[in-house]
Symmetry: C2
Subunit: 265 residues, 2 copies
């Protein structure tokens, strides 16, 4: 039994901040949106903000901190960006060098001000799909969602470029229109699918071999449906080899005070 | 009879570029989205981009040019930002100093690179309202839409701050839900109303005295409905007194290749 299923986000962030919870955040604070975190030096912030503006389906920005500030006042009032994620990844020159659960010292000692970006996450639309009676396979199978590199180029911005990464969920063909309609209503968390049923059309050769995450079963009568994925901006960042980038570790998300359903507004 | 009602956007931009059309753009290229234009020095671009990100309802960004580039490749391939608007306004230190129909020389000679921002315009959702049989009063009366300063603070970003400006359209009370639903489906052109029926709740004292534009008649049985307005970012820019800002003159918009209906995606 998960004791944090109905925790309030501020309480949960406090538990995480104290170092008392370091696991993936799936299933925490039911109904509240979780987000992807990217922290970059200020000199890269304009290019990254522009990359997100130009690729809103893959990179739906929820909030951008002030330079040097450690909180997201709108989505998580009172939050501490450098301690409220249960597991961080630190990249130097594009190489993963460390995982930890507190980046405060690094954030404060870094010679340049850092800017934090909170990006919408598919957990939010999966919550709505489940609520509508549409099963989500990787949750059923207890694995990570399968993700694939595609041949769809992102619009580049300054030092950032790359192809779109997509996540895939098999949906029964009767429910595909419903799944499209529900997710289309949530553009701040990736929105509608980018492809339905034709993986080869976007450069995906073998669904059994995802580039990230785990393969899932596709049952007879199901169609693979592809959504723009938050790994897209992470990839664009890593390929540009910034002197420093801090992100959440996969599945260890930033928990916001905003309900998933409120993201329809 | 308007000879440009069914012109294609690229053809219309060409006519404007040649200086053969210098009037307001309402009624041109039926069905295609028109946008607000703001051009700023590169050193202000990050703050302005962040201001738009933080205030997406008032400042729904459609496209941002590369620094120093004179075209919007996504929304208007082949466009020339400095000649494709029929009337520009030039502000220096926040003061309107000139109106003209070509800012190429200024753009190219300015000592700093300039960045152009294309912002969604309520013309797009008015097209959808009319198509659904919801009258738009200021069009019926042949005047500018009434706009009002409000007490709703925008989220500030760097040098940019200010209160939200709203536009008002009287809607018959039976059609208010339909008008909300239609515009809510178009978040890239301001989206849903911010207030319905209670102007005093957002600091508006007298509907007969708009701060911008013209008053319109409110018939018995009609409710004043308020949408976030693209004058909001212009105000924020002027208050910050940038060394240079170039905008379209009111009503003289930038015509894009994207259909209004496509902005629902």
């Amino acid at each position: 039994m998960n004791p944090y299923l109905h925790a309030l986000p501020a309480q949960m962030r406090d538990v995480i901040r104290k170092g008392e919870f370091t696991l993936p955040t799936t299933g925490l604070c039911e109904g509240y949106a979780q987000g992807n975190l990217v922290i970059l030096p200020e000199k890269l912030a304009y290019d990254f903000l522009l990359f997100c503006q130009r690729n809103p389906k893959a990179c739906p920005l929820l909030e951008v901190s002030n330079a040097g500030a450690r909180t997201f006042p709108t989505y998580a009032n009172g939050s501490d960006i450098t301690r409220d994620v249960p597991r961080y990844r630190i990249y130097r020159d594009g190489v993963l060098t460390e995982e930890c659960n507190d980046v405060t010292a690094l954030f404060d000692s870094y010679p340049e001000r850092l800017v934090s970006f909170l990006i919408g996450c598919s957990f939010s639309f999966e919550f709505e799909l489940l609520a509508a009676g549409i099963p989500v396979r990787q949750i059923e199978e207890g694995v990570n969602v399968p993700m694939y590199d595609t041949s769809i180029p992102c619009a580049s911005a300054g030092v950032f470029s790359g192809n779109m990464v997509v996540s895939m969920r098999p949906i029964s063909h009767q429910k595909v229109p419903m799944a499209v309609a529900i997710t289309a209503g949530m553009p701040r968390v990736h929105g509608a699918p980018i492809q339905i049923g034709s993986p080869e059309a976007i450069g995906i050769a073998d669904l059994a071999k995802p580039d990230y995450g785990d393969p899932v079963t596709i049952h007879p009568g199901e169609v693979p449906v592809f959504w723009p994925c938050g790994v897209t901006p992470q990839n664009a960042v890593m390929h540009s080899k910034p002197s420093l980038a801090i992100t959440h570790a996969p599945g260890h998300m930033f928990i916001t005070d905003v309900k998933n359903t409120a993201l329809k507004w």
